[in-house]
Point group: D2
Amino acid sequence: MIGGGHSSFIGIVHRIASYIGEEYKLVGGAFDTDHGRAIDFARSLELDTNRAYPNIDAFVSGETALPADERIEAVVVVTPNFLHYPMAKQLIEAGFHVICEKPVTNTAEEAIELEELVAKHNVVFALTHTYTGYPMVRQMKSMIANGIIGDIHKVDAQYYQGWINPVIHDKEKRKGVWRLDPAKAGQSCCMGDIGVHAFNMIEYTTGLKTEKVLADLNTLYEDNPLDIDGTAMLRLNNGIRGLVRASQIATSEENALQIAVYGSKGGLRWEQENPNYLYYLPEGGIQQVLKPGHDYNSEFAKVSTKMAPGHPEGIFDSMANLYSGAAKAIKGEDYIDGAFPTIRDGVRGMKFIEAVLASDKNGNSWTEIVD
Amino acid sequence: MIGGGHSSFIGIVHRIASYIGEEYKLVGGAFDTDHGRAIDFARSLELDTNRAYPNIDAFVSGETALPADERIEAVVVVTPNFLHYPMAKQLIEAGFHVICEKPVTNTAEEAIELEELVAKHNVVFALTHTYTGYPMVRQMKSMIANGIIGDIHKVDAQYYQGWINPVIHDKEKRKGVWRLDPAKAGQSCCMGDIGVHAFNMIEYTTGLKTEKVLADLNTLYEDNPLDIDGTAMLRLNNGIRGLVRASQIATSEENALQIAVYGSKGGLRWEQENPNYLYYLPEGGIQQVLKPGHDYNSEFAKVSTKMAPGHPEGIFDSMANLYSGAAKAIKGEDYIDGAFPTIRDGVRGMKFIEAVLASDKNGNSWTEIVD
Amino acid sequence: MIGGGHSSFIGIVHRIASYIGEEYKLVGGAFDTDHGRAIDFARSLELDTNRAYPNIDAFVSGETALPADERIEAVVVVTPNFLHYPMAKQLIEAGFHVICEKPVTNTAEEAIELEELVAKHNVVFALTHTYTGYPMVRQMKSMIANGIIGDIHKVDAQYYQGWINPVIHDKEKRKGVWRLDPAKAGQSCCMGDIGVHAFNMIEYTTGLKTEKVLADLNTLYEDNPLDIDGTAMLRLNNGIRGLVRASQIATSEENALQIAVYGSKGGLRWEQENPNYLYYLPEGGIQQVLKPGHDYNSEFAKVSTKMAPGHPEGIFDSMANLYSGAAKAIKGEDYIDGAFPTIRDGVRGMKFIEAVLASDKNGNSWTEIVD
Amino acid sequence: MIGGGHSSFIGIVHRIASYIGEEYKLVGGAFDTDHGRAIDFARSLELDTNRAYPNIDAFVSGETALPADERIEAVVVVTPNFLHYPMAKQLIEAGFHVICEKPVTNTAEEAIELEELVAKHNVVFALTHTYTGYPMVRQMKSMIANGIIGDIHKVDAQYYQGWINPVIHDKEKRKGVWRLDPAKAGQSCCMGDIGVHAFNMIEYTTGLKTEKVLADLNTLYEDNPLDIDGTAMLRLNNGIRGLVRASQIATSEENALQIAVYGSKGGLRWEQENPNYLYYLPEGGIQQVLKPGHDYNSEFAKVSTKMAPGHPEGIFDSMANLYSGAAKAIKGEDYIDGAFPTIRDGVRGMKFIEAVLASDKNGNSWTEIVD
């Protein structure tokens, strides 16, 4: 693990996700920029402190010097956003499998470069688009792939949060938000952080690709350089209409990622805050509510659930499913398509973000996403 | 009542709404194009068959010939859509108060003309934007007006139905749908029929005005002349962003009109299919669920509820509230602003529809709504 | 209408219910114990003031003196509870059809007497167990009758309200509550007012009969003579277990009448506060949510719905369905079994209440309900 | 860990729960009655195979022979039910801290014996009443303790499942269900397995004690020796009424544990299948919905949540909270009262089960629970 020490919030999340499937063992890493704290952290987890490296360079040289069967196989990157790209690159080039937090890079160009390196070095690269790990999202993907809702003609995805509202209206407060600082957060705040999840959810569940976008972003205040709210109209394959609605000023909304997909034979709706309910609306039939753990679910949904029906699994279990999928890939075992997001998802996401920004800048004009 | 006889679906809805408040009495009308059936209909309701007129001309001449205190005061127009404008015009000019089904007219120009006539003849004109009659919609309007959610910065309204899905994919079937025939349905199907409700709900609850729109409409098939799905980005006063999402191909959705309004101090969410729940999300506080019949509601919401809490009122009760509001206006009594939609709402709605159509036609460009 | 004048709350509810189906016309009554106010009331509704009688005796003699085709056919009894029995008796004996508010009588013996009189005088007697009029309750009844959930083995009905909480804890306040005064409210408060609805809902939807009960009632304070909370275990036919849970101290609950019925092939759940959702849980299958207005519903549910799916109907519409059912019976037309509750429901309800009270008094012992 | 090897379902659940807080490390155990399989299992988790003991005796002698600082500190007992008591006893007597699956013992007498041993040997004993670990259950406990809902006057807990329905109606199938075999399942099926959870939830959240019960159990078929459904009326302290409703024939219900507590100042409702929502109904106020991760929650709820609001945690996280609580106790750190269920909960539960069975046997009579 690179990053993820005592001062990290996200490190524990990844560790929990890695523990749940019992396929990973935390051995070492470069947990902290302060080596002393890194060693303390290793001790707190009863790790070998020799493998609590002072930095990524030491990590790479130290581990690659070990015999192959002792060497760390997969590395989790949970450093600040702007470091994802260079560190992932270094690790891939050194032959490590990589599990990387979002966003994968700062630009689409960098993501494409990583995609080429992953292929060249033949490593597994997993990007933690966590929400794709929920069993009912996977059930949705299976049902659509199996034609249950027929030909899709409309997709609407929302990701509404309200967290920025308490700070955005005060000039001093908003200056201090790192997500609103392009140097730290990159080109976009709302679309880059959460809009891209909604976009990914659309492409993940439907298997469709977005061909162009028309976006309208909102910074709310002139001195705020980054979007905190926006809507993107999508043209998916065959002219199918899609919608990505994202906001961080949807006051007091928590984490309201939702998707609805409508086809000629039925509709499907899912909400992240109640992830164990999948609403299936068959044309002309009775509305159905699918839940995890049942025989009626697809194989993909079934292997993504650990408990019997009615025992709610949550977001750690969802991320754990991604870790399990990547473990299968790392071990060279068969796995179901979609078992974990790859660098491909990273490339698509970065292209989406850049297209949205370009559309907004160019008078809300249609902007193509070339693949 | 003009129209509304045995073969009418909507006539009974208006009659029920008129009965509920005990302010109206059905006396006569031109119920049917077939005079014999009109008389049968009058008999079935034990009305004076002399006042079951063969047509609107006979109605107007017959009633205006009566002494003022015997004459019908208010007329409900529930004829096919394309007749709303000429009949409303004739009735206004003859001095009747008018309660008119949606859409008010075929064009914004006609709506403006009616607005001038209503003012000139000093009559009450009520347009049955039914959903504005729900007590929790009125509570929402009151709370926003009282600043409970602070300065609004985002509005998102949805009206999703799926009724056209079973017929739209078959070339012959879709040819036979009157709502897809411009001669009968007017300039728009989806936006004109339901998108305008979502638009009206935004302006009604927030008190804001829409200044321009950018719309993307969908006919799904080339031989289908009218929109059956569409999204409109809105700029409300002060640059506030709004969204109208409407669809008739949201497969198996029933009547999913929903609105969310977010402001600096909180958010509000309401759904038509569960109309007795208003979700209030105070910034930094606990989510609250307001319901009708409670003392904590506004005066406007309270007078719009008849029963104690927990006794669900529905869509007839909502429309009945509009009838009661119009009754107060007709009797010259005081009433709360917003008690019934007026010709003003009709004008705004028609302007919205025309702007949306123009935007879509002109390459999804921003189109102003001048008032 | 007997009772129901300006000072009545329930009168307007019944009138609305009677208007909705357009089968009834309010002609006259004994609206108020003050004749002047009764005449005022008649004037406000533009009724013939000659038929605003000073009392029930005048009503009966006045109306029976009229030629049969001018005479009032059906009388609605909405007087205070203790007057239901004597007035219903008088009206039945005079040959009027009667629509009567709950409770039908003060004792089971009186209810049995009315049952005999109804048979003897061959009149229609409708008891307004309002909740049986909801389309999804009727759908539930149809599904159970058609064996959709197989053999029933468990029923659980709840009716929780919280209205008495704000007054019950203060000695002076609770003294002033008429529902806690046996002289006005009868033998029971909670079970008599709402427990009996839950009981009726069980027998109505399942078609089963209760053979014995074991009840535990709660007055909360020693000086309070009547139950305000209680649970009754039921043995239905064939030893099937049922449960009636009722409370008026379920603090801040509004009107939470709920029923769940479980059988060998599936379960069904319904809640009064969200009456347009019927949850069907097929054994081994996907949970289904039935809603009104769809073709998949039973004939009984379909004729009990006026609008297209997604247009919520409420409690007035539910009561209106009872009025429409009774209208069919009065006109001698065919009607579906269960279209309106009859004196039979009244007798069953009173027997239930008396058995519950006896069980509680006799140390929570099993008490039979003989039919 | 005793039990929990490859063939165990529950072992993985406990291991996940133990991993989440990063306070436990799996070192060894007696994982399987087949030693070869136990060693395989240890290898699959990369454990020291020397500590994969062939049985509990070898485990106890092997571990106690180690120096104190190398010895296993805490043992998880996840063997078949009838082994919980003897193994827990052996482990306690050997000085191990014990984390034990439900049911703690077969009889109340055995539980009392364990309680005495726990005190005598001064070890930590945690019983995994998993549902008490949910943050919103803990919030409920905190709010009640802080008097938010005033004096409690009614409690209603339900635990409805439907899993036994598909096998119960067939004579041969039901014979093969181990939970219906007294030799394996103990004295009770439904009440012992799930009713006791509802009971525990009542005592846990309210802090009240049950003084007597009146229960009615159902075996459905004469040849079935154990209850699969039942209702218990409770008298809590001060005559407060409670209700435990449990069923395994609530067809197609999944895991519907629910609790409602009503007091003089408000009510609280929680449901296990949607564990991140706590409904607070203040007397006379607006219904509120509390969710995890917010500052408004109690300290106890806050430390029981790992993620920001809107990131659903589930049942593993709930059990992990019990493990973390027990870890604090084992390490001698301070912990909040209720952080994990103890042998006290085990004693209370067993007494409840025995009282319920006695009441049912003795003609549904009131049966005391002496403490």
